[in-house]
């Protein structure tokens, strides 16, 4: 095949350019630490990486939600633990009062002491039910965060439409973070404060039957509080599990992303060396062949 002078030059030039390209690519990969994930070169890899990024963002969001939920639930747990103890003492007082009446102790002085203590316990429960978080919002108000669950006289202050607040902590998994006080501190329509008022009235009047009724009602609320604590405990376990699942998912995503996106240094450096060697060889070949010309030998 006949070869023209221009063709030989062009071939040499093209070879040089190809090597330079390969070298530049390898260099870029090494210095940036990332492969050139180009949607044109690898559309599937690009789409996968894109989805993984989005999934990771969502997982990070869940992590934040879990932290937030945990804080709020632990706060409620603490309050309810105190409330349990308070209610326990209320129960004991009602039994003591009842015993005192049965024994026929005429003096209302000792019962007065009980009644005084009862008033103090009522205050505690009121402030526990009306607990506010660091932002000044009522913890046990459900969706009506700005309204106190119990007003100054202890009556239930939330609207019947107030509901609980759920927060998403993992794919398809919700956790109830805020509940309404009605489900924890009420017996029927009456609040525990109103029940204690009834107990107080009963002790003052010396009415055993009323004391017994009030005692039952206090027991009802006690059970509700214990149940609520149980639910919160379950929720906290759910949070732990969700956290671990999310973490595992995040790790798997990171690994997949890294495989797709991050430079394989061994591979990149090898390529760089190879293209450098080839480039040197090409350059030398070009300079040797271009210097061959018949004109060098003519006159």
């Amino acid at each position: 095949m006949r070869v023209s002078t221009k063709m030989m030059f062009n071939q040499g030039l093209n070879a040089l350019q190809r090597q330079q390209n390969a070298m530049a690519e390898a260099q870029k990969e090494i210095s940036s630490g990332r492969k050139n994930l180009d949607p044109a070169k690898d559309p599937v890899g690009y789409a996968t990486a894109s989805n993984l990024e989005i999934s990771n963002k969502r997982l990070a969001q869940y992590e934040r939600n879990i932290d937030f939920a945990r804080g709020k639930l632990e706060l409620q747990e603490g309050v309810l633990a105190n409330a349990t103890e308070t209610l326990q003492r209320v129960k004991e007082i009602s039994i003591e009062a009842s015993n005192s009446l049965k024994l026929g102790e005429a003096g209302s002085a000792s019962r007065q002491a009980l009644r005084d203590e009862l008033a103090g316990l009522r205050e505690s429960l009121m402030s526990q039910a009306n607990t506010r978080d660091e932002r000044g919002e009522y913890v046990f108000s459900g969706t009506q965060s700005a309204t106190a669950p119990y007003d100054a006289v202890g009556a239930y202050g939330l609207a019947p439409t107030a509901g609980s607040v759920n927060v998403q902590v993992a794919e398809g998994q919700d956790v109830e973070v805020y509940r309404t006080a009605g489900g924890v501190f009420n017996d029927g329509a009456d609040s525990i404060m109103q029940v204690i008022d009834q107990l107080d009235t009963a002790i003052a009047a010396g009415n055993m039957a009323d004391i017994a009724t009030a005692q039952d009602r206090v027991d009802n609320v006690f059970d509700k509080v214990v149940t609520a604590r149980g639910q919160i405990g379950n929720a906290l376990s759910t949070l732990d599990r969700a956290f671990e699942d999310n973490d595992a998912q995040k790790y798997a995503n990171q690994k997949a992303l890294s495989d797709l996106r991050d430079t394989d240094y061994a591979d990149a450096i090898t390529r760089l060396n190879m293209s450098m060697t080839t480039m040197q060889a090409t350059q030398q070949t070009i300079s040797k062949t271009q210097s061959l010309s018949l004109f060098n030998f003519i006159g």
Binding site: L37, D38, A40, Y46, A47, E137, F295
Partner: protein
């Protein structure tokens, strides 16, 4: 006349021509499009001198151009193909830069809105979370605006390039016509004495034209080469060149005309062909999809606002996004639909106005449509199924998601309109004034419940679902699994990537083809300096020998003169 002297002199003249040709080759070794020339030396007609035939020297019969029409045709075709894919490759790479960023692409930014919504859902009474949510919406709107603008700018740039290229083709065609005139005249004078360099120039011009537009040639064997577009229209016939122009039509597209006729659909090769295909396939389709995504996002957020209540209030939420530059608002809510008009093609004879109103953004398919009027009926053809006719006259809402109307004007038979529902919407998307105030975020599904997050939870859920499965008050459509909003946006970007990958592969293979045919041409027509050097030696020797012959003849003559005293 035969004889030593005249034979030698004729030889000298022939050799001189040959040397001239060789030096011409050498000086043009690097000239673009040059075909090497060979002086063809033939022996002169011998004379009969009674005893036998005696040779009468040599002469240059012709200077032959080393040229093969078949190789040239194949090379031209390879040039057209390679130029087409290269121009598409450049364009798709530019588009990728605009939309394809993994970390900050439009898909990711939109996801940020739903992420911020999650923060509001956990903490509905936290004003910071609400502000962040509004901020995420604003960032997304800005990015929609910016990407649409950049794509629009890219389209404009393409149109400029296309117009420039068409001007070049026009100029070259003009020059080819002039050369045709000169060369065909020379052909008539003497078929064997053709102006080789002018023919080289003409071939170079034709190759340049082929790089812009694919053309067919017809050698009419009388010195003319006629050029035709691949679909048959004549560009250069003998010494007449038709005007070849390209300009931006009012449909925001490049339109190409030959002698005033619209040939846009008939050009498929060369850089101009590449531009024409890309403007619809890449830019137009992407802008339409982005617009559709913008409409779906706006509808989703606005409906969520409409269904919910402002912070700790009984007032219902108001729309946050609108796609208009004036009143009335286009929010996607009932009574405020997205609107636009279909664009009349240049060359339509009627003056009908065609408008569309989006009934349900969730039902838009992402197609663009061609509307044709045949004199009585309007029919639409979707870009994804261009052979299926949709009867608009029978049902103006036949196109999924929108309704067409014809408020004024009359159309003539043969009129065509382009309907691109999404194009430009992403650029017009803006925040309403209500979207600046955090308490306006309607997270709550009930009045006066500051910590209620049910409404915003529903929005987050909608963002994840297939667009057709979105459940909202007043809209339920339980069709099968389809694409979610995020999928639509990522899909549109992914399509560009897939197309870019195809184009790149074709560009590479076209490049290989081009190299092969360029080498073949070079092999045949290219100058080899060593070969010319050898020729120089050859002719130089012959010249010296002939010069010596002449001096011998001179001595013979002198001897003769001397002998005659």
């Amino acid at each position: 006349m035969a004889g030593m002297l005249s034979n030698s002199v004729s030889g000298l003249r022939a050799i001189q021509r040959a040397l001239d040709t060789t030096s011409h080759n050498i000086s043009n070794a690097n000239t673009e499009g040059y075909s090497r020339q060979t002086a063809v030396i033939s022996s002169s007609v011998p004379e009969f001198d009674g005893v036998g035939y005696v040779g009468s020297g040599s002469y240059v019969e012709t200077v032959r151009r080393e040229f093969d029409g078949l190789v040239e045709r194949q090379l031209r075709s390879a040039i057209s193909e390679s130029a087409r894919y290269k121009s598409q490759q450049t364009l798709t790479e530019q588009v990728n830069q605009i939309v394809g960023d993994l970390d900050a692409g439009i898909g990711q930014t939109m996801q940020g809105v739903f992420s911020a919504a999650q923060d509001v859902a956990s903490n509905p009474s936290d004003m910071t979370a609400r502000s962040s949510y509004l901020g995420a919406i604003e960032t997304t709107v800005n990015q929609f605006n910016r990407v649409d603008q950049q794509l629009n700018d890219l389209q404009f740039q393409l149109e400029q390039q296309g117009a420039q290229m068409a001007r070049e083709v026009d100029r070259w065609a003009q020059e080819v016509a002039e050369l045709n005139e000169i060369i065909s005249e020379a052909y008539q004078t003497n078929r064997n004495a053709l102006p080789n360099d002018l023919m080289d120039r003409r071939d170079t011009l034709i190759r340049n034209i082929a790089e812009r537009v694919d053309v067919k040639t017809l050698d009419s064997r009388d010195g003319n080469i006629n050029l035709y577009l691949s679909s048959g229209q004549g560009l250069v016939i003998n010494d007449i060149a038709q005007r070849f122009t390209a300009e931006s039509s009012n449909a925001n597209r490049l339109t190409v005309r030959l002698a005033g006729t619209d040939v846009t659909d008939r050009i498929s090769g060369g850089s101009i062909g590449g531009i024409l295909e890309s403007q619809d396939r890449v830019i137009g389709s992407l802008r339409n999809e982005l617009g559709r995504s913008a409409m779906v996002l706006a509808t989703m957020i606005n409906r969520s606002q409409d269904n919910g209540f402002k912070y700790d209030s009984a007032a219902p939420g108001e729309a946050f996004l609108a796609a208009s530059t004036g009143t009335p608002n286009q929010t996607g809510l009932a009574g405020e639909p997205f609107e636009g008009n279909a664009i009349s093609r240049v060359g339509n004879e009627g003056d009908a106005k065609v408008e569309f109103s989006v009934d349900e953004a969730y039902e838009l398919t992402g197609d663009t449509y061609e509307l044709r009027f045949d004199g009585t009926n309007w029919t639409a053809y979707a870009s994804s199924s261009p052979n299926t006719a949709i009867d608009i006259s029978a049902d103006p809402s036949a196109i999924p998601g929108l309704t067409l109307s014809f408020p004024s004007g009359t159309a003539q038979a043969g009129d065509t309109y382009d309907l691109r529902p999404g194009e430009g919407v992403a650029g017009r998307l803006r925040l309403t004034d209500e979207a600046r105030e955090p308490t306006n975020v309607a997270a709550s599904a009930a009045a006066d419940q500051p910590r209620n997050n049910e409404n915003i939870n529903q929005l987050i859920e909608n963002g994840r679902r297939s667009i057709k499965d979105i459940v909202e008050i007043g809209y339920t459509n339980n069709s099968n699994v389809g694409k979610s909003l995020g999928d639509v946006v990522n899909g549109a970007v992914g399509n560009v990537g897939t197309y870019a990958s195809q184009v790149r592969m074709r560009a590479e293979s076209a490049e290989t083809n081009l190299t092969y045919f360029t080498n073949r041409r070079e092999s045949l027509s290219g100058v080899n300096l060593d070969e010319e050097a050898a020729n120089l030696l050859k002719f130089q020797q012959a010249y010296q020998a002939l010069a010596r012959t002449i001096s011998v003849q001179d001595r013979v003559f002198q001897s003769l003169l001397g002998a005659m005293g």
